[in-house]
């Protein structure tokens, strides 16, 4: 499959430029700080709970540390960092002209696109899995529930795929990497903020708005629920943006 040739090239380019290291490194630092802070406040609660047995019953490390971490904090951090990972995928090739060679090889546009998509997704999953260290560490100290953590990671992976889709679309529309990153960020931010307007509009629009919101769908994953509605939402966003990217790549065939 020619797709995997593109895939391997993209992964190689990620790791030969500093971008991957910086993004992964920064993500791990930020995630680590948040993990440290929430496990810190959890230990303060536990000490208070030692004096109040009724309070201690509700104390749950999965619920209080990992659920907010996975379904909230990580999403916001990723929303800021993912555009950096995807910005170069097409913009750089357009700027340097390598796209001209790539698209004159006997390979379909779709194969190039999917190769790039899976490369970015692989890097994203590696980055995400490095944070699995936190639940493992916490597992030595407390009893944690595995299921909500696994579904939490699954939700983040699906969300990452959607982010990458949007990033690829923006990158295919410009030859400037900064423009690609900023517009990816803006699109994702708007889709996040959409959910906030839910309370201000009528019940129908409110439901629609919160359904469109890209972070809202993390909620149930964090609780250990795999809701088809959420899975389909992320797959929809991913597939739709990849479809638009393909159209944008093909536009060179009809644009003057």
């Amino acid at each position: 499959m020619r797709l995997w040739a593109v895939y391997r090239k993209e992964l190689r380019l990620y790791f030969t430029s500093p971008v991957a290291y910086v993004v992964v490194g920064m993500f791990l630092i930020i995630a680590g700080v948040f993990f440290y802070l929430s496990i810190g406040s959890f230990s303060i609660y536990s000490m208070q709970a030692a004096m109040n047995p009724a309070f201690a019953r509700d104390l749950n490390v999965t619920e209080l540390v990992f659920r907010p971490l996975l379904s909230n904090t990580f999403s916001v951090v990723l929303l800021l960092l993912m555009p950096i990972l995807t910005m170069r995928l097409f913009a750089e090739e357009k700027k340097s002209g390598t796209i001209e060679l790539l698209l004159t090889y006997p390979v379909k546009d779709g194969e190039v696109l999917l190769g790039k998509f899976f490369a970015a997704l692989t890097l994203f999953i590696i980055m995400l899995l490095l944070t699995a260290l936190y639940p493992i560490l916490a597992g030595f100290l407390a009893r944690i529930e595995l299921a909500p953590i696994v579904t939490g990671y699954l939700g983040l992976t699906l969300m990452g795929a959607a982010f990458i889709g949007v990033g690829l679309l923006a990158s295919s529309l410009t030859e400037n990497q900064i423009v690609a990153a900023v517009s990816t960020f803006a699109i994702l931010l708007i889709f996040w903020v959409l959910g906030w307007s839910a309370d201000m509009v009528g019940p129908f629009w409110g439901k629609l708005m919160s359904h469109l919101s890209i972070l809202e769908h993390q909620e149930s994953f964090g609780k250990g629920i795999i809701d088809t509605k959420d899975v389909i939402y992320y797959l929809d966003v991913t597939i739709f943006s990849l479809f638009l990217t393909l159209r944008s790549l093909e536009s060179r065939r009809w644009r003057g």
Binding site: R2, K9, L13, T98, E100, P106, R252, R253, R255, G256
Partner: protein, 322 residues
């Protein structure tokens, strides 16, 4: 092998090429000449299936560049003008990547990469990053990636631009060595290059083909007559008259000359050489023949004659990506 019929490409309202038609036979090396912005790159991009034409037809090896694009792309090797490569990749890894994309099987790939590196004289830099290579080496890597799938047709856009003289000679020899087995179309604006490497040329100016064919054909087409310039120390009127009486001379024009010497340009049909008779004439009449030479019909002159008269195009945009 390459068949182009009434190809037209518009970038917005500007026509980069208009009704371009030509045919290239299998095994030929053809130079594609023209001033900057004439439409060379546009034509090559259409042939390489990077973008389609607005109208007209382009066929490579009997296959249509638009509707059978993937099949065409399997048969070509393309080197764009600025040689876009991935600077972060080592040479060998890059060529392996291209070979895989071009459908060279896993088992032959290693051998093919080694062979093509040998051929393009880049084996010694195979582990270096492309970004660290000199321009000449990068150009050769570009040529190597075009050759890696043993393509039937090579499309080379300005393959020797920006190289030093030694490298230019090496690249030219490499291209020449491909003659016979592969069909090559190479664009250039360096005329001697075309005359050294190519068997024929296609000259394009302002989006239109102005001439094409082999060298002799082109020369006869542009300069049907032979011209001889001479300086004779003698009575101007008598000399002019005598020259005109030499059989075969079609035209005698007197030209300006320094120090009151008479200078003439004598024209005769291409196959008739009158130089011997002019010398004999001067000797008989005891005129002093100071200078006599044939006005060369070098490629430069052919080219200038074809392209001159029409002003240079102002639209450089035609050479750029839309």
């Amino acid at each position: 092998m390459i068949y182009v019929d009434k190809l037209t490409k518009f970038y917005g309202p500007i026509a980069a090429i208009q009704e371009v038609s030509f045919t290239i036979e299998k095994g030929e090396i053809i130079g594609f000449l023209g001033p900057n912005g004439a439409g060379k790159t546009t034509t090559m991009r259409i042939l390489s299936c990077f973008m389609p034409a607005s109208s007209g037809q382009a066929r490579v090896a009997g296959l249509d560049c638009f509707t059978q694009s993937i099949e065409v792309r399997k048969r070509i090797g393309y080197l764009p003008e600025n040689v876009p490569l991935y600077p972060e990749m080592p040479v060998a890894a890059y060529l392996d990547f291209v070979a895989e994309l071009k459908g060279v099987g896993r088992s032959e790939r290693r051998g093919r990469v080694a062979e093509v590196m040998e051929r393009c004289m880049i084996s010694d830099v195979q582990q270096r990053l492309i970004g660290k290579l000199s321009k000449g080496y990068r150009q050769r890597v570009g040529l190597a990636q075009a050759l890696i799938n043993e393509p039937e047709v090579l499309i080379l856009d300005e393959p020797t631009i920006g190289l030093d003289p030694k490298q230019i000679i090496e690249i030219r020899q490499l291209i020449k060595s491909l003659a016979g087995q592969r069909t090559v179309i190479l664009s250039t604006h360096i005329l001697p290059e075309a005359s050294m490497v190519c068997q024929g040329v296609i000259i394009i100016n302002r989006g239109r083909i102005v001439a094409s064919g082999g060298w002799d054909q082109l020369q006869n087409q542009v300069f049907p007559s032979r011209r001889i310039e001479l300086q004779i120390d003698g009575p101007a009127g008598a000399v002019e008259e005598a020259l005109g009486r030499i059989p075969g001379v079609s035209k005698v024009a007197s030209a300006e000359s320094a120090a009151g010497l008479a200078a003439f340009v004598v024209e005769s049909p291409g196959e008739r050489d009158v130089r011997g008779e002019i010398f004999q004439l001067a000797a008989d009449r005891r005129w002093k023949l100071l200078e006599m030479h044939q006005i060369g019909t070098s490629l430069e002159e052919i080219f200038l004659k074809l392209v001159a008269g029409e002003e240079t195009p102002t639209q450089d945009a035609a050479e750029q990506v839309p």
